[in-house]
């Protein structure tokens, strides 16, 4: 009987399993799908400054207020940040080592908060502490402490600005930098041009030459301690070096003819420049240690305005070998010369971005001059500025901002006109004038001060 029952249920079991599987299959087949998250693609937004709250730093009398003022000005000038009005602050910071009341800062729409403190140490040095807070994340993003001499407070402020800028944008800052430029004064027919340096915000201007001789195209070396420039000393236009540490200047090389348009190599060990012979200029590289030169171009056309790529492997320069002034790129040894600018008008004074991704240049059209950028292969040309005479771009060390000379057109009778230094973001936004003592031209941005 037991055997019969087993025989009976064996085939039945198969059927039952089949039926059960069918049932499960039917149920699963009709089951609703798992609840999925809604997918949204956000492809439009704004490009507006990030609101930051930067209260005056605590302690050390006026220094705390001064430092906060410079930090606010630095960040606002970048166009990427907006310093909120201190009058709107709800919480008054009394201790930078205590977390702020994040809700208070959210209420006034702050997205970041900078708290700081400046204290004079027993040894006479100034100690500056600061913290950057993420208001939404309710966490500290940066916390740093600086020690320096009290008269160095302005530089500390720039370093604080650089830290904030770098933490929020992902880019190195450029506030602790200087500008070398040509300061211009006097009537047009007897223009006095002096070599000068100042902080990137226009503070601490210092004239390096007296204006007895015309100076042009100053350029910093990678340590910002040396300047190469062209001067007409004794009516002989030649490239000179100026040592900021010692104040000493020397002519670079003993060439019988005109040398001009100098620029340092990325390692600072050599200078690349143009040398004119019988109306033809070629590009040469000079080793600063041995003072030996190497000719890089060999063409009957005018080759000038060379600039190294940041890795030192390539050089961009301008040449009229194709019939008009255009931008070219070649290898650092002078091989593989090829033209990269093909847009309308003429293009000159190319400068390779420290980031390596772009080359800035001057666009010369019949009715205007402008500053533009293009990729090293010549693609993606964009004109950033448009003026009567915008020219001579120079890059911030982070490759994000460009300064240039803007010459204004004189009005009737020669009234007005003059040269100014302007800056613009590589996105084409935030065009603004850089403050300088009087007229100024031919700026060159230093690397970050070391």
């Amino acid at each position: 009987m037991a055997i019969q029952a087993q025989n009976f249920f064996r085939p039945l079991r198969r059927h039952l399993i089949l039926a059960l599987a069918l049932c499960v299959g039917v149920v699963l087949g009709f089951s609703p799908p798992a609840e999925a998250a809604l997918q949204v693609r956000v492809d439009q937004g704004v490009t507006e400054p990030i609101p930051l709250a930067i209260p005056d730093f605590l302690g050390a009398g006026q220094a705390g207020k001064d430092i906060a003022t410079v930090v606010r000005a630095d960040l606002e000038r970048s166009g990427l940040f907006r310093a909120l009005n201190p009058a709107s602050f709800i919480e008054k910071i009394a201790d930078i080592n205590t977390p702020p009341r994040f809700g208070d800062w959210r209420t006034i729409q702050a997205q970041g908060l900078v708290t700081g403190q400046a204290t004079l140490q027993p040894d006479g040095r100034l100690r500056v502490d600061f913290r950057l807070w993420d208001i939404f994340g309710e966490s500290q993003m940066v916390g740093l402490q600086y020690m320096t001499t009290p008269e160095n407070w302005r530089r500390i402020a720039h370093l604080v600005s650089d830290s904030i800028y770098e933490r929020i944008t992902g880019e190195k800052g450029y506030f602790d930098t200087r500008i070398v430029f040509v300061a211009e004064s006097g009537p047009k027919l007897n223009r006095r041009k002096r070599l000068a340096v100042m902080d990137q915000d226009g503070a601490n201007p210092v004239f390096l030459t007296q204006g007895d001789y015309l100076v042009l195209t100053p350029r910093f070396n990678p340590t910002a301690q040396m300047i190469a420039y062209m001067s007409y000393i004794q009516a002989k236009p030649r490239v000179y070096l100026f040592d900021l540490e010692t104040g000493r200047q020397e002519v670079l090389g003993n060439f019988p003819n005109m040398t001009f348009s100098p620029r340092f190599s990325p390692d600072g060990k050599s200078v690349i420049m143009a040398l004119e012979t019988n109306g033809n200029s070629e590009i040469y590289l000079m080793d600063l240690a041995t003072r030996t030169t190497k000719r890089l171009t060999n063409d009957p056309a005018i080759d000038t305005a060379p600039s190294f790529s940041p890795d030192g492997r390539q050089i961009t320069f301008e040449s009229d070998r194709g019939g008009s002034q255009q931008v070219y790129v070649m290898n650092a040894d002078g091989s593989n010369v090829h033209r990269i600018s093909f847009g309308a008008g003429r293009n000159g004074t190319p400068v390779w971005s420290p980031r390596g991704d772009l080359i800035a240049f001057t666009k010369i059209s019949p009715n205007y001059f402008g500053v533009g950028v293009m990729r090293p292969d010549g693609s993606g040309e964009r004109l950033l500025t448009h003026g009567w005479q915008d020219e001579g771009p120079t890059w911030a060390p982070n490759g994000r901002v460009i300064m240039f000379t803007r010459t204004l057109q004189a009005g009737p009778g020669g009234v007005g006109g003059g040269s100014q230094i302007w800056s613009i973001d590589v996105t084409g936004r935030n065009e603004r004038r850089v403050l300088s003592p009087g007229d100024a031209s031919d700026p060159a941005w230093s690397p970050l001060i070391q």
Binding site: H15, C23, A37, T98, D129, F136, Q140, Q145, Y146, G170
Partner: protein, 281 residues
């Protein structure tokens, strides 16, 4: 014996048949309510105005709608969190600045420089009453217009009008989802500050998972999707882009434009932030 065998086959068949019936009844009982919710396969009645969905959904607002502002009493002011201990500061020794070393003549700084180098003084403005969302929005349309080098889009025909909302049938779910996405996009475009200055910014695509409560507030902090989190850990530009996206989600809170009765559809959202259309290069 023959009869017994026939009876046995009959019994087995009856049992199998019964089991199958039971299975079908169970299946139908469990799935019938859901099956009723299946999209109606019959052709929908859709008004046939020749306006594409893009014309309706992508239309740029000429006047920015006022943002929903929560009542002040709804603001939760986070209390101080004494348990958060700021990490120690990193010490940096700064050498004296170089200008002091300059040996050359130092003319007195012109007055205009001295005045200009500092930040403009912040005048003592009357203290504003704190409000949740008093921000004046940047006009996105003007920025996009500046960046858009294409020929201007011709205006729509004078007699063109948006199609009426589809109410049922195929596409009803799509239309609803599109409305939902439009509502979200309209809000997000005001809050997302696009990081366009980085190298190759069009590649900085960020995905954030957002969890919303029924009142439109954030049910929990937004989270980066795993791929974005991994990229942000190694790439500073991605970290910046990710932080900008998280800020956008936070700034946009509360999400009041979403229909409360469809909460299940938007309680969890994956937002993909794609800056390629905002890049001016």
């Amino acid at each position: 014996m023959l009869k017994d065998g026939r009876n046995g086959v009959l019994k087995r068949s009856m049992i199998v048949s019964g089991a199958l019936h039971v299975a079908v009844i169970v299946a139908v009982t469990m799935t019938w309510p859901h099956a009723l919710n299946l999209p109606d396969e019959s052709p929908p009645v859709v008004p046939v105005d020749l306006v594409t969905i893009a014309d309706v959904t992508d239309i740029a607002p000429t006047a920015q709608p006022a943002r929903e502002q929560p009542a002040p009493q709804e603001i939760e002011v986070a209390p101080p969190q004494p348990e958060i201990v700021p990490p120690p500061l990193q010490a940096v020794e700064v050498a004296p600045s170089e200008p002091e070393k300059l040996p050359t003549p130092k003319p007195a700084p012109p007055k205009d420089v001295a005045q200009d180098t500092g930040a403009p003084a912040n005048p003592a403005l009357p203290r504003r009453k704190p409000q949740p969302n008093p921000r004046q929005r940047f006009d996105v349309d003007s920025v996009l217009a500046l960046l858009d080098k294409r020929a201007p889009k011709p205006p729509p025909p004078a007699d063109a009008k948006p199609a009426e909302t589809t109410v049922r049938g195929i596409g009803a779910q799509d239309a609803f989802t599109m409305d939902l996405k439009d509502a979200l996009l309209a809000q997000m475009r005001e809050c997302w500050n696009v990081p366009v200055g980085a190298p190759d910014p069009e590649q900085l695509i960020v995905q954030v998972r957002v969890f919303l409560a029924q009142d439109g507030s954030l049910a929990q902090p937004p989270q980066l999707e795993p791929a974005t989190r991994a990229a942000a850990a190694t790439n500073r530009y991605m970290r910046t882009a990710a932080e900008a996206a998280l800020r956008a989600v936070n700034v946009c809170e509360p999400y009041k434009r979403l229909p409360p009765d469809k909460y299940e559809s938007w309680r969890e959202i994956v937002m993909t932030f794609d800056p390629s259309k905002m890049v001016g290069r």
